[in-house]
């Protein structure tokens, strides 16, 4: 019943931070775990962090290019996880798992779908973050190195739609 909480001051989560969160989601090591399995688990987690850091950099480049060329219209792009980045990430993580001592643990389709769901969740979170900073705050860039976007238009319908969708319906019922 617990939410995970990810916090970054003065800007966006870095690709590194998102990668760590994604890897922790996939390789869940008990806080009190010790011994060889815990060491091997950390190594696998580190490998997934390396893979996902590159993927989040790719995602940032895709989002920034989309914003640069299409401006606010980019906000209407699908919010499904970018399919090419998703597929390559799942494939590379699969390879890393096969090469790890945990290969036999990760053989069922259920595990594969779990990895895919986790990567998709974090890619979508990253995508949402880039677009939200652009749509609502008119900022682009990575991590805390943000700059004002030249082509941001707060009056654009796509920007207004984006903000309305995030807020959902307001309630105002007196108690």
């Amino acid at each position: 019943m617990q939410f995970g909480v990810l916090v970054t001051d003065n800007g966006k989560h870095s690709g590194e931070k998102l990668a760590i969160a994604c890897a922790t989601d996939i390789v869940q090591i008990g806080a009190d775990a010790t011994g060889q399995q815990a060491i091997d688990g950390r190594k696998l987690e580190n490998r997934i962090i390396e893979i996902m850091e590159a993927k989040f950099a790719e995602l940032a480049a895709f989002e920034h290019a989309g914003i640069a060329t299409r401006g606010t219209e980019h906000l209407t792009e699908s919010m499904e996880a970018h399919p090419e980045i998703l597929n390559s990430a799942v494939s590379e993580i699969g390879d890393a798992i096969v090469r790890s001592p945990f290969a036999s643990w990760f053989t069922s389709d259920r595990v594969d779908s779990y990895v895919r769901a986790s990567v998709a969740k974090w890619l979508t979170a990253g995508q949402h973050m880039h677009r939200d900073w652009f749509a609502v705050h008119g900022m682009v860039g990575n991590g805390t190195a943000l700059i004002s976007a030249a082509n941001h238009n707060p009056e654009c319908k796509h920007v207004k739609d984006w903000i309305a969708r995030g807020a959902g319906l307001n309630i105002g019922v007196a108690v």
Binding site: M1, Q2, F3, G4, V5, L6, V7, T8, D9, N10, G11, K12, H13, A21, D25, M79, Y114, K121, T124, A125, H128, M129, D132, W133, V136, H137, M139, T144, I163, R165, G166, A167, G168, L169, N170, I171, G172, V173, A174, V175
Partner: protein
């Protein structure tokens, strides 16, 4: 302060069909008449009585009155005409998530029954009130909309879990928060002394104060299963 818990009232309200966590169903009804029925649906899977219905020629405020067969539903309001080849959308209840400020005056837990008027009034079991964190960045009073995933029977197979998709995230925000409250923003069942909507579902403690300055706060939803799922019946 807060204690992670499913709200006690949720349990009885579930037994009264007071919450529908189903995912949105978008489907084409190729025909229908200008009265109450939608016919020739490709499927009625996932459609439940009470779901809101929107689409071409569907009268505003329509809900599903009955599921008549695998291909037909009856609506609560007469349609202007058949929907033709257009998609019709069936939507379950709208859930939202609001944030509790650090050092709140009330201890939020499973006794919470309603979100009340976030940001206004004394915090009580029926009102988050002034214990809601102040709006900042993309966090607005009342919190953010959630996207239903739909309940599943899950691991272990004797369990059921509810989850939400999409990204629960606030940007450009300066917040200091200690918990979140999920609530149902749809009016599905009547109530006496509390708002008809805003019935609380669950309280989620963050294990301490979480602060962000002009930055990004992301909540990640755990795996939808019987041991870690956000809201589960085991």
């Amino acid at each position: 302060m807060a204690t992670t818990a499913i709200c006690t009232t949720l349990k009885s309200e579930i037994l009264q069909a007071g919450h529908n966590f189903s995912t949105t169903v978008v489907i084409t009804a190729t025909s229908g008449n200008a009265t109450f029925t939608l016919t020739a649906l490709a499927s009625t899977a996932g459609i439940a009585v009470g779901m809101a219905v929107t689409g071409t020629n569907i009268t505003a405020g329509s809900v599903v009155a009955s599921v008549d067969s695998a291909t037909q539903v009856t609506l609560s309001k007469a349609s202007g005409a058949a929907p033709g080849a257009n998609s019709t959308t069936f939507t379950a209840d709208a859930f939202k998530i609001a944030l509790v400020k650090s050092a709140p005056t009330r201890t939020f837990d499973g006794t919470q029954t309603n979100i009340g008027t976030p940001g206004s009034g004394a915090p009580t079991a029926t009102n988050l009130g002034t214990d809601e964190v102040a709006a900042s960045g993309t966090y607005a009073s009342g919190g953010s909309a959630l996207t239903n995933v739909g309940p599943v029977s899950t691991n272990p197979t004797t369990s059921a879990a509810v989850s939400f998709s999409g990204t629960i995230q606030w940007t450009g925000a300066t917040l200091s928060v200690t918990a979140a409250i999920i609530y149902n923003n749809s009016t599905r069942i009547g109530a006496a002394a509390v708002p008809l909507n805003g019935r609380t579902v669950s309280v989620h403690d963050f294990g301490g104060t979480q602060s962000v300055t002009a930055g990004t706060l992301t909540l990640t939803v755990p795996t939808q299963d019987g041991t870690t799922g956000l809201i589960r019946i085991t």
